[in-house]
Symmetry: C2
Subunit: 291 residues, 2 copies
């Protein structure tokens, strides 16, 4: 019997991989800043610092750097940025490399075009997450942002008129099942055009995590506590396996009661580097060997 | 002594990886077309076909599909597309996912902005390559496109006036050393603003290939014969190691005279999948074992 089951979909999605690889590669010849942490993972951000890549999330700071004539490039991470930040970069002649995930770019386009033709925008997602802040910037920060099921029900019930002038998009890393429920509430009540913009990487990662969590005694979700999609993975798994733990490194986990019959499942968020996953697996294997 | 030396930088660069992964993932829920082959590799294109992903490089064809109301999305590959194709997609309401490599996008931006302010554009690269066709589309197809050293010398010498109204960009996968020579010719003669837009992945891959080719008896470059960057890798290695071979699969190579003292180096172009590289290494290992 296999003791440790690792999700195939654990770790970096291609959008994150692109941005991180781009930061490492560009740092070889140029002074590179990232607009905000490249991913929600301290290890990666810390390692990039060793290569001279610094994280700044303040347009005023970039303007100052430009004034003292520092030659640099800014990497836009996979989460994307609001339209006004693009405009600031342009008008201040700040050079950037755009690593916005193509699936997020797609949402920017949907929101921008619909907003231009007079539609109002609803975003399902976390209003503090950079992806959502970025998307909201493509409709002049006018979007209605809802995250919880209750918020959606409340919103729908308190809106007396038809919502034909609204369109709805959803954060790429949103909980697939919860979005299904939210969608059901909405389509029964209102006639809103819904764009299902959850990305497939998220879809796959969540589906696989559920099927593993259902079949193990302990489920471990590796990732940074600040990573939105990691938190969602955790709460999804917790529903299926009560002994689900979110840890930045597997070593943080207390495995006092481990016995040979215990089965452990492992998955990881989109911002968790392969090194952390590999290290985790080695650690677990050693724990079993020591029994 | 190690017999087989594999380049760390062999295979997919992150831009290519993004586009290919995006095609596979998107195909799970949607009807996907790619605008032209996603990469210059028959195996990958063939495999994607099994997942229903078809390759079309004809805007008229997309317009027809749209008319019969087919619901589909077009993936723009890492090479990018000309501005007029973006416009065609927009005006015909054809949905697309833009996987243009961020380094190519950067060139589009440089060319577009300089062209708008009245500059003329010189591109160093292969005029038939989709990346160059795409870039040229951002200056209304007016660029002067030069590829060979002699062409550049000829151009420079036959231009009597100063070239202050010109800027120069270079294909991301161009030969780094050749571009160095070309740059020397130009800066000694003319005052052109040069943007060194060769990407770091290419830079690294070529540098590593050279250092391996110098130290082996046989050098193998894995990749499709139609891949521009694979061809360049081949010609670079050939200068350092006369026994350099370009093969789509390592099995195509005749290894009749293999002996235990022969050292083989292996690298691969940006469009060569990991599976081909792994298969190649296994094959070579078996060849040595059979000696």
């Amino acid at each position: 019997m296999e003791k440790i089951i690792l999700a195939k979909s654990a770790g970096f999605c291609f959008g994150v991989k692109l941005a991180v690889d781009c930061a490492y590669e560009s740092s070889e010849n140029e002074l590179i800043y990232t607009y905000g942490p490249i991913i929600h993972n301290k290890n990666v951000v810390g390692d990039l610092e060793k290569y001279g890549v610094r994280c700044v999330e303040d347009i005023q700071e970039f303007k100052k750097l430009k004034k003292i004539n520092k030659n640099f490039k800014v990497i836009i991470r996979s989460h994307g940025i609001p339209l006004e930040i693009y405009n600031e970069f342009e008008s201040n002649n700040i050079s950037y490399i755009d690593c916005t995930c193509p699936f997020v770019k797609k949402i920017h386009k949907i929101v921008y075009e619909n907003y231009k033709t007079g539609k109002s925008i609803i975003i399902i997602g976390n209003k503090n997450h950079p992806e959502i802040i970025g998307i909201n910037g493509f409709c002049n920060n006018t979007a209605i942002i809802l995250e919880k099921y209750e918020e959606v029900v409340d919103f729908i019930e308190n809106f007396s008129q038809e919502l034909i002038n609204y369109i709805l998009v959803v954060q790429t890393t949103f909980d697939v099942n919860l979005f299904g429920e939210i969608k059901n509430v909405i389509i029964h009540k209102k006639n809103i055009k819904i764009f299902k913009t959850i990305c497939n990487a998220t879809n796959e990662r969540q589906k696989e995590a559920i099927s593993i969590a259902e079949n193990v005694d302990i489920m471990v979700v590796l990732g940074d506590i600040n990573s939105s999609n990691t938190q969602k993975l955790f709460s999804i798994c917790k529903k299926k396996c009560p002994n689900t733990y979110l840890c930045e490194k597997i070593q943080d986990l207390q495995l006092n009661n481990l016995s040979k019959n215990v089965k452990i499942g492992v998955t990881a968020g989109a911002s968790t580097p392969l090194a952390i996953i590999k290290e985790g697996l080695n650690y677990l294997n050693r724990c079993y060997q020591d029994l």
